[in-house]
Symmetry: C2
Subunit: 458 residues, 2 copies
């Protein structure tokens, strides 16, 4: 699946090819890279994986590259970005008011960023809105607002600190009358094993930070700023009251209990990763991060769910066989949520599974919860989406009959948080068994039933 490449000129490093005029100075041989690779091998082994398997052989390098690039903000300086990009711009001449370089509000909306959650080390998505009021007849090149925001997003973060750091850096860099930052953050939910149709894909929070004229949250200029964000689905008044609640429950890992018996080698591997990114694992907020990251990761331990499912399948299969034989209808079970972990990048991918089959009645003979268990069973592994789709189809067909179609729709963190940063992209994979593989009409009918899938980026 290739490596992360913010630096497109280095795009083909992984394959040993350099296609541009830019030479990577031994990234592969840097001690931080090697330390992360080693730590990832420990994690893979802790998950029960064969680290020489073709799909994951290069995973340690891919993870090291993604993590180091994804936290490159530690090495960047705002002064270097802002320095060359302050342009003289006249303010109002002989008028009372604010405009141009003399106090007219400047806003950049809907900047897509991602960051890493310092609580659990998973990436989270950020929709960033920045405004400032120029002073001294200098304005900042608009794209620099985005670049400065990136410097702080590309670190281990918490939404409030991220907003505060962007705001403070811009205030210090531009020396304006004021800076306002609003962030809409979205964090993947930790798995919910009980089937819950209303389960949200992600935890969302809305934070803001202001300096100068934006220092006072009640200042009228906040009203101006928020007015121009109002079509972005931002309702601040309401959310602000929830702030205390949100602060406590932002990262879903914080509400989970500690893992039973921590694997010391794995915990220490995660701590090594934190060090190699330039962080101090003893910083208060990071103390339990290894534990919380493992809470996530150990969901994907090979064979975690085996036994539970095996018993279930046998029981239901018998029931199902009895009810067969009548006229068959095209039936479906759609929107079964799943979580999985991309084996190429050790990053989450998640979404929904839709299952079509033929049955004697519209009532699913094996029950939605069994299908959900099968989906979880194959989801909670290091996976690729193509294999997940096939495995679900094969298993389901063994007790829903040979005519089965499975569609998996997913949002891949590795398509968003790494170099290609394709926010809003989503994937779909299809498996067709028996009649579905031969009958386009059957496929078309089922695909009409499949509801709209919205990736978390939306």
């Amino acid at each position: 699946m290739g490596a992360l490449d913010e630096c497109h000129y280095n795009e083909e490093l992984e394959n040993g090819v350099n296609i541009g005029g830019c030479v990577e100075l031994g990234f592969e041989r840097e001690p931080e890279t090697i330390a992360i690779e080693k730590a990832v091998r420990v994690l893979l082994q802790g998950l029960g994986e064969d680290i020489n398997r073709e799909g994951i052989r290069k995973t340690p390098f891919r993870v090291a590259k993604a993590l180091r690039e994804g936290t490159r903000g530690y090495k960047q300086k705002v002064k270097d970005i802002v320095g060359g990009a302050l342009f003289p711009e006249a303010g109002l001449e002989s008028k009372i008011g604010h405009a141009g370089g003399a106090g007219g509000l400047v806003i950049v909306r809907d900047l897509d960023l991602f960051s890493y959650c310092e609580s659990c080390l998973l990436p989270f998505q950020v929709k960033c809105h920045v405004g400032y009021v120029p002073s001294g007849q200098r304005v900042l090149g608009l794209s620099k607002l985005s670049r400065v925001a990136e410097v702080f997003a590309k670190r281990l973060q918490d939404p409030h600190r991220l907003a505060n750091e962007i705001c403070a850096a811009l205030h210090h860099g531009i020396k304006p009358t004021g800076v306002a930052v609003v962030l809409q953050c979205s964090h993947i939910h930790f798995p919910d094993f009980d089937f819950n149709p209303n389960h949200e894909n992600s935890v969302k929070t809305l934070v803001k930070s202001g300096s100068g004229v934006f220092d006072d949250e009640m200042a009228d200029i906040w009203t101006d700023f928020l007015s121009l964000l109002r079509f972005r689905g931002i309702k601040f008044e309401k959310d602000c009251h929830l702030r205390k609640l949100v602060e406590k429950s932002w990262c879903p890992s914080l509400t989970l209990t500690k893992i039973g018996v921590p694997d010391c080698a794995m915990l220490s591997a995660v701590a090594t990763i934190l060090c190699s990114l330039g962080e101090n694992p003893l910083r208060k907020e990071l103390l339990e991060t290894p534990d919380r990251f493992l809470k996530w990761l150990l969901n994907f331990k090979n064979s975690n769910l085996d036994l539970k499912l095996n018993g279930f399948v046998r029981l239901k299969k018998e029931e199902c066989l009895i009810s067969n034989g009548n006229e068959e209808l095209l039936c479906s079970e759609v929107n079964l949520p799943f979580w999985s972990q991309c084996e190429h990048h050790l990053l989450p991918f998640h979404g929904v599974v839709h299952i079509g089959y033929y049955g004697s009645s519209k009532v699913n003979p094996v029950g939605k919860s069994l299908l959900q268990s099968i989906v979880h069973f194959y989801g909670f592994k290091l996976q690729v989406q193509e294999r997940l789709t096939r495995q679900i189809a094969e298993t389901v067909s063994s007790f829903l009959g040979g005519d089965v179609m499975v569609v998996v729709e997913a949002s891949h963190t590795c398509m968003i948080s790494r170099g290609i940063e394709k926010f809003g992209s989503s994937t779909a994979t299809i498996a067709e068994l028996g009649r579905f593989s031969m009958d386009p009409t059957a496929r078309a009918i089922f695909l009409q039933i499949v509801p709209n899938f919205s990736p978390i980026a939306d």
Copy 2:
């Protein structure tokens, strides 16, 4: 506004700072860079600009960097991208059908790309959807579908050729059962000087390309593929009938007449740019590109519109003064379209202007068309949005009274097509004169009237 940086490690090249482990090998001193810079200086002078003015002094370098990075696809090889990323993946075992590595459709949707129009050299946006059917029990890492698409997007292109090239490259690289590519392309409209409220911001087209099992446009597998795109606003049947029409009118420059007296130095400068990007300016499709690019660029020649507007203002100003004196109402004229050209990057930014003022009746005393003329007057220059906003406010206030508020909402090509690639981002700037600068309620009422602005990225 800084330079383009796909290569974030090189982010601060412009400021002479190198913040990562990656060294740019004399990009600044490469003959192609120098040739483009020289050509851009000719263009700036042809536009009547002082090339030593602070805002545009570094524009030649910024343009060279943006163009060369934006067409880096010429140097990239698909084989290098695909080579290391084909993973073994079992197909179905003892079942009839398609799945996993044995024929189950794999789709990546909603990849945001941009490309350069070979007809007029302006960037255009692409929403790319790619599917393929694996064979030989090998699947391609999902992010590689995006990377391969990028290789061809980062060239001078036409939508049909772009779709065909992505399709052929993937077919050749993966050797699958088939590949399908659907592109939704969006090209900025050339200026329309007559006020037309229904004027579209952009020309859109929808193209597709298929290989192998997708070779036949009527094949059932196209139905499967398109079913899973149906929520992306794609209605292919209808659009397909329009294909011939669309092909002819895709680039708006093609429907314009030739420019009157071509400036040979400027034409030759554009041809030099084409050469420096690695293109052959004698290629059939590029023969008239310099002429067409100048058709766009010369809209932004300083003083193009001066005379026309001056006459207009005098007339209307007198009429306006007569009708003053009654009780004043908060009035507005919203959604006045504008086109402008970012002076930092020679790239379009465009959007809408909203004007609030106080008047004696809800009927705009000077007429919408005069306000539109003023907007065009300040838009059709090399500009920055902050200055545009202030200039409109100052001019409008001279005949609508001193209490004026102007909001400019825009989508900046330089925020999308260069390194930061913030698709969907938009900007807003505000100028407040007189009462609006002192009365938050007046601002709030006016901002409530401002309608939703949708950047072309949406």
